[in-house]
Amino acid sequence: MLTSLHVEGTSLLHRLPVKPKLLGLMIFGLGLYFVSAPLVLGAALALTALLYVSTGIGLWDGLKRLRPVLLTIAFLAAVNLLLLSPVEALVTTLRLLAILFLAAAVTACTTIADFMGAITDLARPLERMGLLKAADLGLALGLVLRFVPEIAARYEALKEAHAARGVPVRLPRMLGPLIISTLKDADRIAEAIDARGIRGH
């Protein structure tokens, strides 16, 4: 149900550790806002698009994955064309596309485990400040992934229950029961976690 956007491979970007990748993406993304020469931005776009394809995702799959964001960018380009000069519209569009492809390439080349490692490390300073426990983050994310299929099944069951009674299936009518029945599990799950001492003391 929740398939990661990671793509198996051995490309250069695959072999790079996660932190340099994220730092590079940050610097590249911010840096591009200081560039307004269409030629340079065009070259940057060509480079990141090439990098994205080099991850082995395949052209069709790669474009399909980015379709919603590409549509948004195309829409903004059309709006900008009306409001700004053609050069300005071109510059912002090229910039957005270049960042888009690099970000998508990093996403495709990094496993969830690597990302989680980086996020846990980033959470360490917060832990020292007493704001959150890095281990709790992993526990919470595990719980989310565990319960998505269960809640989806519950939603389907509610839909069938409504249909069986001849009540039209409407989201507003189902939200209350869906949320109450889900959150009622919270106490049971919390007790089970504490009983096993998973969070330590």
Binding site: I112, E150, A190
Partner: protein, 187 residues
């Protein structure tokens, strides 16, 4: 946060993800569909409160960042966060917090139904619409280069849909506070 707080936040994140699977209503001309997912901001704040609601959305953003397609339409990955609409996604965290803060202040058990509903509706509009747009619109304007006043004007197209969402969230939050109250001032 207690274990129960963590579990409640995580379960709510899962609910928000499932809301994203429900087919969205496309808006003519605009490539961003109206989804049940952004209604989650109002639901989270009104039902589990400020701190846990914000935590639920922070978890969602982490899942997006690590490359899981948890947003409506199967969107996910760093490109969504760094893209033109990234400001709205981060704004969801703050929006859920503000919604929760207002709901905790305005609504308590034992009030009349009308008072509770009014409180939830105000909280949903201020936090779920006002705050989210305040975060999303400047970001969009800076990232895409579109003048801010035009971005604000374009956003008006989404306001009617958002008001409907606030109304639905109000009904759901009221149903939950009657059936299984979870909105304590302490959270």
């Amino acid at each position: 946060m207690t274990t129960r707080d963590i579990v409640l936040s995580a379960l709510f994140t899962a609910i928000i993800i499932v809301l994203g699977f429900i087919p969205p209503v496309p808006v003519p001309l605009i490539p961003v569909p109206i989804t049940a997912q952004s209604m989650g901001v109002m639901l989270a704040g009104c039902i589990i409160g400020a701190k846990r609601g914000a935590a639920a959305y922070a978890l969602l953003v982490v899942l997006v960042a690590v490359g899981l397609p948890v947003l409506s339409g199967g969107r996910g990955g760093l490109n969504v966060l760094m893209g033109p609409t990234g400001g709205y996604i981060f704004g969801w965290i703050i929006g859920a917090f503000v919604t929760g803060m207002l709901a905790e202040k305005l609504v308590r058990e034992g009030q009349s139904a009308a008072k509770q509903m009014t409180g939830f509706f105000i909280a949903s509009i201020v936090g779920g619409i006002g705050v989210v747009y305040l975060c999303g619109m400047p970001w969009l304007s800076v990232v895409a280069g579109t003048p801010f006043d035009k971005v604000a004007l374009g956003s008006l197209a989404f306001i009617p849909g958002d008001l409907v969402k606030a109304a639905i969230a109000t009904l759901a939050a009221r149903a939950v506070i009657v059936g299984y109250p979870l909105l304590p001032a302490r959270a």
